[in-house]
């Protein structure tokens, strides 16, 4: 199969689903879905000639005859045991199984609704226009459900959403979708983990729309540590109102091909967004981060720190854009991508971008690539630490920097362990 064939097979699936009147959650958004499908037909799958996909070819992803219809679903309870990646993690409070929402025990101040229960009052496309990009269009056309989470007041507990794609004997394409609202002055902590269960190839096309009201705060952790050779594309759009504060940590270690699109819109003065990424690729893994931070109004701040390590034949790509709109004076925006390239067959691509239409701004970006600091290595060895251990320590410290500010102790520790494992650093070396 190739991209064109997959495209027509998906269009055919859409027509089939459309006719299945008993497909309950389908109907409320039917006109929107149609529009999205049209957009998908027009946009098609991007190739590397598309500027946004210059460094990441989807060819290995698009060669499977994916099924979009929901396969028989496993029991969430059973899944927990099946997914080793959940080991050492907080309990799951909401499952998105092949895109269908199954709430468990959610914190009291977190309201939950879904397509299945709330129908067309569920907001869709308000932050990510349905026809803006192929994968958003595709998700809008096919998402079997939209899980809506809204926070009111300060909720100290972490809310854990597990996105699981579980193929049933044949390649599966899943369209999980989240809609998140943090109400004025509310504070939310959210962990979204991405997992797969089953043997067949699967592609998860995740979309989330996030709205932060005035003075709202969200800490969002994206946990991408799937040990299988799976494909994951995420597109998250966040809009921040006045004085809202967003922090996102992306822990990207797993999967065969992983692409994260993180679109941040600062629309209220005083809003602040901080994005952090810890990425390690090995084998033939491809991890591609794209960020866009739009400073649409004055006096907003943003900061991005991505640390990446490429080993073996892995590829890391970072494309980060800071876009300052006309009139967005007193903008302060910072972005940094630091990468270590550790093997002669690995690749690092970086495109830090500034697009600036206001003059009273301070915008900076930096990008470096290189090997481990030989001086630091020598220093450690001169203190009696064996070279391999010294390398591991430095590697761990390098990646860890992106996670330093992660407030959840449990997650930070777990991430540290995973990074240490990748760096071949014995766990007891972590303090």
């Amino acid at each position: 199969m190739n991209a064109a064939e997959l495209q027509s097979s998906l269009v055919a699936s859409f027509r089939r689903l459309e006719q299945e009147q008993n497909h309950r959650p389908w109907s409320p958004h039917h006109p929107l879905r149609r529009r999205a499908l049209e957009a998908f037909q027009q946009l098609g799958f991007p190739t590397t000639r598309h500027e946004d996909w210059k460094y990441t070819s989807l060819a290995p992803v698009l060669r499977y005859p994916y099924r979009v219809e929901l396969p028989p679903l496993p029991e969430p309870a059973a899944l927990g045991a099946q997914l080793p990646a959940l080991h050492g993690m907080p309990p799951v409070q909401l499952w998105l199984l092949n895109g269908l929402a199954h709430p468990e025990q959610l914190p009291a101040q977190v309201r939950f609704a879904s397509f299945q229960t709330a129908g067309d009052s569920v907001p869709v496309g308000h932050i990510l226009p349905v026809d803006s990009e192929t994968f958003v269009a595709l998700n809008t056309a096919f998402a079997p459900d939209v899980a809506v989470l809204s926070w009111r007041g300060h909720v100290p507990e972490l809310c854990h959403v597990a996105v699981v794609t579980a193929p049933h004997g044949e390649p599966q394409l899943a369209h999980p979708r989240l809609s998140i609202t943090v109400e004025p002055h509310a504070r939310a902590h959210l962990l979204v983990g991405f997992h797969t269960a089953g043997q067949a190839p699967c592609l998860t096309n995740f979309v989330a729309e996030v709205s932060l009201a005035e003075h709202a705060q969200l800490d969002l952790v994206l946990w991408q540590t799937d040990p299988h050779d799976t494909f994951l594309i995420t597109t998250i759009g966040v809009e921040l109102a006045r004085s809202a504060r967003l922090r996102v940590w992306t822990v990207a270690l797993g999967g065969a091909l992983l692409r994260n699109n993180l679109y941040i819109r600062l629309v209220g003065p005083g809003a602040d967004a901080q994005l952090f990424g810890a990425t390690m690729v090995t084998g033939r893994q491809v991890i591609d981060h794209r960020t866009l931070v739009e400073h649409r109004v004055e006096q907003c701040t943003s900061n991005q720190l991505y640390k990446s390590v490429a080993e073996q034949e892995g590829t890391v790509t970072f494309t980060g854009r800071i876009h300052v709109y006309p009139g967005a004076q007193k903008t302060n925006a910072y972005q940094s991508h630091r990468a270590l390239l550790l093997s002669p067959k690995a690749t690092v691509n970086a495109r830090p971008q500034l697009e600036i239409y206001a003059d009273d701004v301070r915008c900076t970006h930096g990008a470096t690539t290189g090997a481990l600091d030989e001086d630091a290595l020598f220093y450690l060895r001169s203190r009696g630490i064996p070279e391999s251990r010294a390398r591991a320590l430095l590697l761990h410290a390098f990646v860890h920097e992106a996670l330093e500010l992660l407030p959840e102790e449990q997650l930070r520790q777990r991430a540290d362990e995973l990074i240490a494992e990748r760096a071949h650093l014995p766990a007891e070396s972590l303090s």
Binding site: L341, A350, E355, Y357, A358, G366, G370
Partner: protein, 481 residues
């Protein structure tokens, strides 16, 4: 240099574009439009050998299959490639000595501050003057010939040194490279040719002065510089054009070849007519410049000061093939009013221990758009390659845009790349400090901008640095207050 700065600032209090006159020179102009007949016409007029016709036609046929690139951050209405003339040359140009030059041409170049009489020239600068499509005068030829240095027009080189031209023309920028390079390959009419023999250090700056004079013409010059083993040459390029309401197309190609241990320093002060304050007229400057460090320990250094043109699309690049070779790019790009610039460089590291350095200073004022676009590519073979990039943008006023789009591709674990960029406005504190010492706001802006660009300007030869400083001040006039 520093003490001259305020003199310069005093000189430029009221000037707008001062090179905007049209000289009454009799010219032969090709019929409007582009087809194989026109290419034959150019080829015949220039009396070129047969292989050049084939070369041109191959490029033309390829060009017809190509699309104009649209990825740059510049906006302009479609160019009617059939609406312009591809060849214009002064009628009286076959001269044996400088005394025979058409007095009108001589007067025009004098008005531009480029005297063609050798005795009047600043010591150490040899000039090749290119008017519209044709080279009209090359000075100091004999003196250079004593050292074995060839400095002549491209037309002459095709006649006299076909083996060198055939070997190197299109070897760095093949006609398939891009739309404008293909167009240039098909229709280029003249330009400069330089060959520096092994071990020779060219004792003077070689300079070409480009001038578009005729209306409804495009200028398509081609420059080829070959620095043989262990040689050194510094080459300067300046350019101006009359003020016209229409846009004029300039699509040049420059190729540099540095063999073992050779060094080429190429400096440009680009001051094509930028259009008026409302964005009417101005040159479309679509230029392909590329050098190859073919030999080991060779070096190519580009320095550019871009103040002119309505649109600039230009990425002087270096292919670092020879082991230990060095590429440099120093750039100041100023845009004001409705000017648009999308400029930067490419450093392609192939050889081991290759090094590159990029320093770019963009200044945007008025309603202009100023983009840095650059590529640093470290191939698998480029062990221990190094790149350092610093690109800064300065915004003057809130209606302009400054953008930075670097591409960094690293495939070798022993390589180190570093890229830093900042965008900010001109410091209010700096302005106030200058004004408290009695310096006017406009002069303070010019002073601060010159300081901001100093690292780049310091790489220009003296005469050019002075001219460049003047241009910076003129270009930013009316941008404050």
């Amino acid at each position: 240099m520093a003490v001259q700065q305020d003199d310069i600032l005093q000189q430029v209090t009221s000037a707008e574009y001062k090179y905007g006159f049209v000289a009454p020179i009799e010219e032969e102009i090709a019929p409007i439009g582009l087809n194989e007949e026109i290419i034959r016409y150019i080829w015949e007029r220039k009396g070129e050998p047969e292989w050049m016709l084939e070369w041109r036609l191959r490029a033309y046929r390829h060009w017809k299959t190509m699309q104009e690139p649209r990825w740059a951050k510049v906006v302009y209405p479609p160019i009617d490639y059939q609406g312009i003339s591809y060849y214009a040359a002064p009628k009286k140009r076959h001269v044996r000595s400088l005394d025979e030059i058409d007095p009108e041409i001589r007067r025009m170049f004098e008005k531009l501050g480029i005297p063609l009489e050798e005795q009047k020239l600043l010591a150490g600068v040899a000039v090749d003057a290119v008017l519209d499509s044709a080279s009209v005068a090359t000075t100091f030829k004999e003196k250079l010939a004593e050292l074995g240095i060839i400095f002549c027009s491209m037309s002459e080189a095709i006649q006299k040194y076909p083996e060198l031209v055939q070997k190197y023309l299109g070897s760095v920028v093949p006609y398939t490279d891009n739309f404008f390079a293909a167009l240039n390959s098909a229709v280029f009419s003249d330009g400069s040719f330089v060959y520096v023999p092994p071990g020779v250090r060219c004792p003077m700056e070689l300079s070409t002065y480009f001038r578009i004079n005729a209306a409804r013409t495009g200028q398509f010059e081609r420059t080829l510089i070959i620095a043989d083993e262990g040689s050194y040459v510094s080459y300067l390029e300046g350019c101006t054009a009359p003020m016209r309401d229409e846009h004029q197309l300039h699509a040049a190609v420059v190729e540099l070849i540095a063999l073992d241990g050779a060094e080429i320093k190429y400096s440009t002060v680009q001051n094509w007519y930028p259009g008026d304050r409302e964005g009417r007229g101005g040159i479309y400057n679509f230029v392909t410049k590329r050098g190859i460090c073919l030999g080991k320990e060779s070096k190519i250094s580009w320095t550019q000061v871009e103040t002119g043109s309505a649109i600039t699309w230009k990425y002087p690049s270096v292919i670092l093939k020879g082991e230990g070779s060095v590429g440099e790019f120093y750039s100041v790009a100023v845009t004001n009013n409705f000017q648009q610039a999308d400029t930067g460089t490419k450093m392609i590291h192939i050889g081991r221990h290759t090094r590159s350095r990029i320093v770019s200073k963009g200044i945007a004022a008025g309603r202009s758009s100023n983009t840095y676009r650059g590529l640093v590519r470290i191939l698998r073979s480029a062990d221990h390659a190094r790149n350092y990039t610093q690109c800064d943008s300065l915004l003057i006023g809130s209606s302009c845009g400054a953008h930075t789009f670097p591409y960094i591709e690293v495939l070798n674990p022993t390589a180190v790349t570093e890229h830093e960029a900042t965008t900010s406005k001109i410091g209010e504190d700096m302005l106030f400090y200058c004004r408290q010492r009695g310096i006017s706001e406009e002069d303070a802006v010019a002073l601060i901008v010159n300081g901001y660009c100093r690292e780049v300007l310091s790489h220009l030869p003296m005469e050019f640095a002075v001219e460049a400083q003047k241009l910076l001040a003129i270009s930013l006039e009316g941008s404050v207050g």
